[in-house]
């Protein structure tokens, strides 16, 4: 049962760090309720090489709470009946390879993102996930050359994760120009057969709307996790996702793709 995504509107995939709070699964319901097309669940790793301060802090806090990958997956299994949107797990290679694909499949995970597993290293996991009916979503970066980008399009499953910026996760005051050119390359030049989702640094409804126009949707992580770290509960964060949804759907002016947010929250 691989990832099935809507095709009639820009996609919205909000992120939550698994085990971040005792009631962390409440965020899953809030996201679903606010109109998420899928939800990305991070398995916290001790050495999150591609994450900025916010996700690092979220990971550290979850680990300090005693979160383990197994327990997070168990939590997901327990939520299975109440979640209708696809669940995508994002974690680093060391955890993903250790857990094994069967474990993800068993709890109904339908997508997997492993940010430190580039094409050169992903083949075995591609085969395993394919066999298990899970989509291994590959990432593309602004620095990725054309031939590689084509290969990523070919081998990715579910969608192509377009990393908006040469940098780590984290809120930014503007959506980087690189995001637009990468999306253009993927969609116009390569005619990607899969949806192209823009992630890393999508921080505001305006940025989400711009990302949705440039690609096929956005992944929003640090902006939401910052709110949770600051104490926002599921119903608080639900409103943020509602706003993102509205912006993406054009229910709100998105004339300003390079909108400023107050302060650089990286």
């Amino acid at each position: 049962m691989t990832l099935r995504l809507a095709t009639d509107r820009p996609l919205l995939i909000p992120y939550v760090t698994g085990g971040l709070t005792p009631d962390w699964t409440g965020y899953l319901l809030a996201y679903q309720d606010a109109g998420a097309d899928a939800i990305e669940v991070g398995l916290p790793f001790s050495d999150p090489m591609l994450d900025g301060t916010t996700i690092q802090q979220a990971s550290d806090r979850a680990l300090q709470r005693g979160a383990t990958p197994g327990a997070i997956l168990d939590d997901l299994a327990a939520m299975r009946d109440r979640l209708h949107v696809p669940i995508i797990v994002m974690t680093y290679a060391n955890l993903a390879l250790k857990l094994g694909v069967a474990r993800f499949a068993a709890v109904g995970v339908t997508g997997l993102i492993v940010p430190d597993l580039p094409l050169e290293e992903s083949a075995p996991l591609e085969a395993e996930t394919e066999a298990a009916g899970i989509d291994l979503i590959l990432l593309a970066a602004p620095s990725t050359p054309d031939d590689r980008l084509a290969e990523i399009c070919r081998r990715s499953r579910g969608f192509v994760y377009a990393v908006s910026v040469m940098g780590v996760t984290g809120e930014r005051t503007t959506l980087a120009p690189a995001a637009f050119s990468l999306a253009r390359r993927l969609k116009d030049e390569l005619q990607a057969r899969l949806p192209v989702l823009i992630g890393f640094g999508v921080s505001t409804p305006e940025q989400a709307a711009a990302g949705g126009r440039a690609g096929d949707g956005v992944v929003v992580a640090s902006a939401l996790m910052r709110r949770v770290l600051d104490g926002a509960n599921p119903s608080d964060v639900r409103l943020d996702v509602v706003a993102l949804r509205a912006a993406l759907d054009g229910g709100e002016s998105a004339a300003q793709p390079y909108a400023e947010i107050s302060g650089d929250r990286r």
Binding site: M49, Y92, L95, D116, P118, E121, T144, V168
Partner: protein, 398 residues
Amino acid sequence: MTVSAAPRSGVMREPADGGRFGEFGGRFVPESLVPACAELEEAFRDAWSDPAFRQQLDMFRTVYAGRPTALTPAWNLSAELGLTLLLKREDLAHTGSHKINNVLGQALLARRMGKTRLIAETGAGSHGVATATAAALFGLQATVYMGERDMQRQALNVFRMELLGAEVVPVTSGSRTLKDATNEAMRQWVAAVDDSHFCLGSVAGPHPYPWMVREFQRVIGEEARRQVAAELSTGVPDVVVACVGGGSNAAGTFAGFADTAARLIGVEAAGGAALTNGTPGVVHGSRSLVLQDEHGQIAEAHSVAAGLDYPGVGPEHAQLNRSRRATYVTVTDEEVVEAVRRLARTEGIICALESAHAVAWVLRAAGTDELPRGSTVLLTLSGRGDKDVMQLRAGVTA
């Protein structure tokens, strides 16, 4: 030094495609960094087969870094232990450790690639000081990431880096030691690949680092091979021993003896023994043996030697261990401190805590089946102890 074109295959020659040493190695990095790694591999391959580059590197090694470093018989300790113990004196290299060998190579390569800045991680500070040094020499900027805890332990090295014009950035995440500094350096590299070279300090990290750094450190083994041949009637020592943190001084040393009958011994810190206590895992861009918990979370290492306080190890060592070409052992902090004292008193050499791991093993093994009387031993003294004197003093008077 002669310019030798390394054969493309064989033990401790070029890794298999994708930077693989058996099942270890590889390039586990974000897609954003793949082109940079590929560019670096290309540039290194090109430079390393360019006699002009090699000559230039040899020139800097010789007139700047003080190579070849001496090979010193440990006359007194040899007599006490009933061995022939020969010390390869990387402590005499400029900046005080073998780290300069690697850094001169990478800085020259960075310049050749048109980069204007070096980014580095450091634990003990040795690699950071070496990087800051090469940056000053070649007119590059340097930004060094260092765990906050290590900055306290090695405050003088922080000051040395700053004096050399480098920016030292404290890393406050995780265990605030080398592994976290490495994460942070890689994060910053992602954001600065265009103008910055990530000057990694050991034979770890994504391809081509484990291979490239070993090649830059090969000079230790090659010099030692020639020097030992002049010293021993057997030409080759029975045992070659070096300490292993990430494993660069050991790799460089072993490379000179991989094709001989010499036993290769790597000595890890008991509290940071990835080869002895680790399991396969992926960290900092390559698959190797790693200290980790049952969930795959990377463990913190604990060693009196900041430079060995690292839960991973270079992938080639994992493979040398797997293939049994090299043997890896551990020594305790107490043995290490005692080894510093013993070498100081017998030979007049105050070595780095890291290097003392190799000495400690020799002290323990001498006269046992592991290292019978009459053995000939080449030991790489990877660095000098000046950086550790404050720490030793605090420990000794405490």
